[in-house]
Symmetry: C2
Subunit: 79 residues, 2 copies
């Protein structure tokens, strides 16, 4: 089974990488771009067959390693 | 209008970040995780009202800045 984990910064958390992208876009002439936020997507190949087990295990991976839950949200999507 | 740009490494391109995540997951006991790939999601606030114009402009941003098209694919999603 394949899992996709979407990790995004929580609302209100400053995103310097997004700010840098916005600035660079402005320098290229795209100066009407508003807020830019940059997140991560982590794709995992899992050996689990059962969706429930897989989802629980991926959530555990997020809590322990993939996301910093103080400042980031995550969403697990199974394929 | 809001756009989401998904940037992923092309097939066959080595992903050291993904490999590091796989290794770290293994060290935490998740040792049956197969390949791991790490991508980016860039969320942009656009002032364009027209979907066609917005899509064309975001594709241009990808070609010029957001993606390295030699090693990365991108996908634009408008909301």
């Amino acid at each position: 089974m394949r899992a996709k984990v979407h990790v995004t910064l929580k609302k209100g958390v400053l995103d310097p990488q997004g700010e840098a992208v916005r600035h660079a876009l402005g320098a290229l002439g795209f100066d009407d771009v508003g807020e830019v936020r940059v997140g991560k997507v982590i794709e995992l190949d899992l050996s689990d067959e059962d969706r429930g087990t897989a989802e629980a295990r991926v959530s555990e991976m997020c809590e322990k390693l993939l996301a910093n839950t103080v400042i980031e949200n995550y969403r697990v999507e199974l394929e």
